[in-house]
Amino acid sequence: MQLWQMVLKELFHRKLNFASGLISVAIAVGCVAGALALLAAHDERTEAVITQKEAETRAAMRQMEDDYRRIMRDMGYNVLILHEDQDFAALQRAGVPDTFLPDDYAERLAAGGISTLNHLLPVLQLKTHWDERDMEIIVAGVRGQVPIEHRRRARPEGGIGPDGTPIMTPVPQGTVDVGHAIAERFRFSEGDELLLNGAALTVNKVLPRRGANEDITLWVHLDQAQEWFEQEGKINGIFALECVCHADSLGQIVEEVTRILPDTQVFEFSTLVQGRALARARAAEAHREAIEAERQNRAALRREREQTTLVLVPLAVLGAAVWVFLLTVANVRERRYEIGILRALGFSAIKIIGLFQLRVILMAVIGAPAGYVLGAVVGASLGGAALSGSVLGAALHPLLIVAAILAATALVCVAAWMPALRAAGQDPAEILKEMT
């Protein structure tokens, strides 16, 4: 008869002792596997939560960017490009520039690869007395926005593109776009006829209220304005929409514009631009803070789980070792006479130790994989990972299970070593004398 057969027979004879040891090993290994799976699942979940938050933030920011773009477009131009000699004080006094630029400057700017501005509108604005209605007004000649081809191609997916819907549509020859204050005063509406400098013009559209000089402006075709004011081939400004929304973007715009058009200067309606930039920065900051707070929460939860496992795992392992030790002590005590007989029959000390060590090795070999699988499943579930997820796949790697079995085997062998040694060291004569 082989030694392992004797061990198996004894296990079935003392099922409770063996089952109880097996369960303790399974619990200890399960705690270790569960802790590892829990932390891995936690990390995976954290990654997923943060990734989702970041995606949401990106989407929200993109949406906000679109909203701002629409809002800013509706608010009108926020940048004016002027001749370098234009005096700002004079501009403030007169309301219109008094220096001039060639009327192809907007095209040159567009062709020069401008990236910080959008909606380029070359304009010739002059203050004049409207004789037919006896009113001081501004007449502005425009040909329409200059397309910026490279920016059209760079239109972002999902958002409205730069240069998409023009702020100012072209004014056809023989027509006029009427500023809100003028239209209100003279009750003009679309299709009405009016006289300006002796020319009969049809009202193309009435512009919405801007609360600025545009409200007292009549917009006509650029050629018409150049002819009236004898400024053929000239404009005195280029309106534009700043599309780079950093608080310090003016410097970039100036640098870019003056690189392409060296004899110009840039005037920014700073409150609009800065308001937009600040609002955007504030929103971005709020999103960053939300993500950071989530990250902090997850980190705190991980620390809490780590601390729990740092206490629980050694306790479970120590508990299993102590329990296996006590079970082996009980088993040795219960089998005292059997050991005496086996020694009398010629069993060596090694074989007696083998009887007890094989017994606990079987506990580890059966209990460890069962506990490992169960612990990993429970740990992954508690950590919020899906049962079919990568966490469970990694936790149930065969090498890890083998390592768990080997570690559990080493643990129980150490735990059972002293009682087994004591069993082997018992004096058979003493036992046999007790028996007679």
């Binding site: 008869m1 082989q2 030694l3 057969q5 004797m6 027979k9 004894e10 079935f12 004879h13 003392r14 006479y337 059997e338 005496g340 007989i341 086996l342 020694r343 009398a344 029959l345 010629g346 069993f347 060596s348 000390a349 090694i350 074989k351 058979p428 004569a429 046999l432 004398k433 028996m435 007679t436």
Partner: protein, 219 residues
């Protein structure tokens, strides 16, 4: 050649000033074919003598030799191996292992042997003791006499040269006791040596030599 040779064996228990002399210069020789019975009252040292002769209890003085091997000159593990190969034990309480079947109990001392060969030997031994129908039963299901026969078969499975029996018929009825004693006598006749210790005069009837023991000394 003597199978067992004990010379002036002395064994004391307890501390020196209050020690009890369990064996007092006991000398004994058992040649091949000897069936020797030692009779005496309880506590006279019979079991101590048996354990000393069986290499399980080191004497304080004297020498114990089995088949020319000085038992206590060997290491513990050498003694265990020698015991397994050479000496068989039979006890009054049988001491069968409760979770092993009859056949497994009988073949338990054959750990090193080929499983198939060991099983065949065990079956043959059980047939010899009329236990062929019980090979797969657990000891708890057997009668007292059957259990003692199983113990006897286990003691003989390794074909020992020396059989040491401690009150082997103490728990048996007349019929079973006779069977056991016959088996012991047969063992001696086949060339082995039997040392039987008992307090029962009837159990010594089959022995070739009967010796009396009292207070640790052979009379």
């Amino acid at each position: 050649m003597d199978i067992l040779c004990l010379k002036k064996i002395t064994k004391r228990f307890g501390k020196e000033d209050q020690s009890l002399v369990a064996l007092d210069e006991v000398s004994l020789q058992l040649p091949s074919g000897a069936f020797t019975a030692i009779r005496g009252p309880s506590g006279c040292g019979k079991t101590t003598l048996l354990l000393t002769a069986g290499s399980l209890l080191r004497p304080d003085d004297g020498s114990a030799v089995v088949l020319d091997q000085s038992l206590y000159a060997m290491s513990i593990e050498q003694r265990a191996a020698f015991r397994a190969a050479t000496i068989g034990f039979v006890f009054q309480q049988f001491h069968l292992i409760p979770y092993l079947s009859v056949l497994e109990n009988v073949t338990a001392p054959l750990l090193k042997d080929n499983r198939k060969a060991g099983r065949a030997r065990g079956q043959a031994m059980l047939e010899r003791f009329n236990l062929a129908d019980h090979i797969n039963k657990l000891p708890g299901t057997l009668s007292t006499g059957e259990r003692q026969r199983v113990a006897l078969a286990r003691a003989m499975i390794n074909s020992p040269k020396l059989l040491l029996a401690d009150e082997p018929t103490g728990n048996l009825d007349v019929e079973n006791a006779a069977t056991v004693l016959t088996a012991l006598a047969d063992f001696a006749r086949e060339g082995g040596a039997v040392l039987l210790v008992t307090h029962d005069a009837k159990a010594t009837e089959r022995a070739d030599t009967v010796m009396e023991m009292n207070r640790g000394a052979l009379l």
